[in-house]
């Protein structure tokens, strides 16, 4: 379970750019929680603080009872993080890359090999597992990125825009994988800006605009609260058109 409490991250000399400003919500086990927001809303900064990549200026994140501000290393070991960057090591095979990441989590010997093999089978990568990643398609690289986040069999999974840029089949596979995680009682937190994806996959959605959570609930709750017919309209209504525009343009230059 991931509990996010009053998380803050400000940038600029006087902290005038409030990338994340008092974000709070919970991601329970066995559920998919979506973080929805326009570009520049603070999604990636929030996810990076949860993943102990950057330090919060205020508030905290508790992962399975461990506080990210006091025990970052333990929090990192409890998470499987798939970033939005599809960078892979082109001179290494997927199997070698999974071994590399598995060792960071204390896996070795037979346990490492069997876990690597399990990930390869789970992601249907048998044909490419022992080929160097040079020239891999976007979908194949996405599988490596996902595989290295899963190699240590984490209970809590964070995914940053996991389907962006993928072809139809790869998107279907990724969405099914996310559903499988829920069925395995894992805690899944993922960011997206695809409304249909969020509506179909998420048990709960946190809408973030200008670094603040403006709404949190199940997709049907949000639609009902906004009195709209679908999540996209609900999102626009709850986030506010002006807020969306300001998120898009006022924070340009800094990453999401």
């Amino acid at each position: 379970m991931i509990e996010i409490k009053d998380l803050k991250k400000h940038y600029g000399e006087d902290g005038e750019i409030k990338a994340v400003d008092g974000v709070s919500f919970d991601c329970p086990d066995g559920q998919i929680t979506g973080l929805l927001g326009p570009n520049g809303a603070g999604k990636t900064t929030t996810l990076r603080m949860i993943a102990a990549l950057i330090k919060p200026m205020g508030g905290t994140v508790i992962v399975d009872g461990h506080d990210v501000t006091t025990d970052a290393q333990m929090v990192r070991s409890l998470l499987g993080v798939q970033s939005d960057m599809l960078g892979v090591y082109p001179r290494l095979t997927p199997r070698e890359q999974f071994r590399y990441y598995g060792r960071f989590y204390g896996l070795k010997g037979e346990a490492l090999e069997s876990r690597v093999q399990a990930v390869i089978e789970e992601l249907k990568m048998e044909e490419i597992a022992d080929r160097r990643a040079e020239g891999f398609s976007r979908g194949q690289r996405q599988k490596i990125v996902l595989g290295r986040a899963l190699v240590h069999d984490p209970h809590n999974i964070i995914m940053d825009e996991p389907t962006t840029g993928l072809d139809v089949m790869a998107v279907r596979d990724t969405r099914q994988t996310i559903r499988d995680f829920r069925d395995q009682d894992r805690c899944v937190l993922f960011s997206t800006h695809y409304m249909d994806e969020a509506e179909r996959l998420c048990d709960n959605i946190a809408i973030i605009v200008k670094g603040k959570i403006v709404a949190f609930g199940t997709p049907s709750d949000l639609i009902a609260r906004a009195q709209t017919v679908n999540l996209e309209d609900a999102f626009v209504a709850l986030a506010g058109r002006e807020g969306l525009l300001r998120s898009e343009y006022s924070q340009r230059g800094r990453e999401d």
Binding site: I54, M74, S83, G87, L92, E96, F104, Y105
Partner: protein, 394 residues
Amino acid sequence: MLGHINNIWRKELLDGTRDRRSLAQSLLLPLILGIMAAVLSPVMTAVITSRQQSSVTIPAQGIEYLGRELIDTFRLLDITLEPHAGDLEATIRSGDEAAGLIVPEGFSDRIDNEEPAGLILLTNRTSGGIFGGSFSVQRLVLAINSYNQLVSIERVELRGVDPALLVPVELESRDLATPEQLGGFFAAFMLPILIGMVAVLGGLFIAIDVTAGEKERGTLEALLVTPASDAAIFFGKLAAVFTMTAVPIVLAFMGFWAASNLLPESVTKGAVLPIGVIFGAILIGLPLALFISVVLMTISIRTKSFKAAQSSVGAMQLFVLIPIFAAAFVLPTESTAFLIPIYGPAAVVAKLAVGATLPDNAILFGIISSLLAASVAMVIALRLFNRERLLYSV
């Protein structure tokens, strides 16, 4: 922490050695440089020796005014005077010839009349490059001195004076250089340069690849979300860079030594560098490799693309090579000078090569200077190697 360091070290080496271009630059090039330096040392010695011993032809004007005795002296020292028509000064100034001799009219008569007689020697020391003109000039000066002595002896003998009175100090010169020292004559110049070039070239690609390359590929964030600490990531990567800097140094020196020993005796004249010098150079070279590795990484960390890192590291090569060249040309006399980073270790290698007696603690100082410099650079690098800085730097 050690497990994480080992994991990163193994992965970076596997990754780095799979790139043929970087492997060639890291391992093959240093080996070739070592072999080339070994071959060049005796070749340069042989060129200089042959120039010192070969016959010298000097353009001259007024040869007809020289006496028989002076011509014989020149011949004895293998100097041939060649009549020169035209402007001799212009010829020498243009660098076409290294030296020329002008014999004034009546020179021989003045000698016979025991009057002061002068010769004009024109030289251009830039002619012929580093193996050029000075040899002709030295030989000519030697010939004139010999002739002066000869004539003086004749003159005092005619007057019944003991010629020994003309030579209050007799200088007997003996070259006591051992074959090993002769072998180290050029090695003293080449080994410091070799160590500097190889240290920079060897670790260059991997240092950039594990820092700026990781950012450019988009793999950095995935590494930073693992439980490995900032320090473990830094030291794991540094271990890989150090390996790829240290191995080429060992290869270059072993290549140097092996090639020296494989050269025929007719080339080396028995002047082969002892293996102890090679081991000494490696002992000094490894801490230096550590320092250079940290500096390479520190510079590369600050950039976010491979290309930007290559440009930044270019300036760093100068930073290394300037003190190395200084050591190749000017050896220190004070022990404390061996504490100067880069210069000190390079000077130790140069002194080892010529078999010179090293001042007390010189080797220790050379090692300490590199380790101290590496420690300071590591503190700086560790401050830069912090997750948040890395994600948002530059």
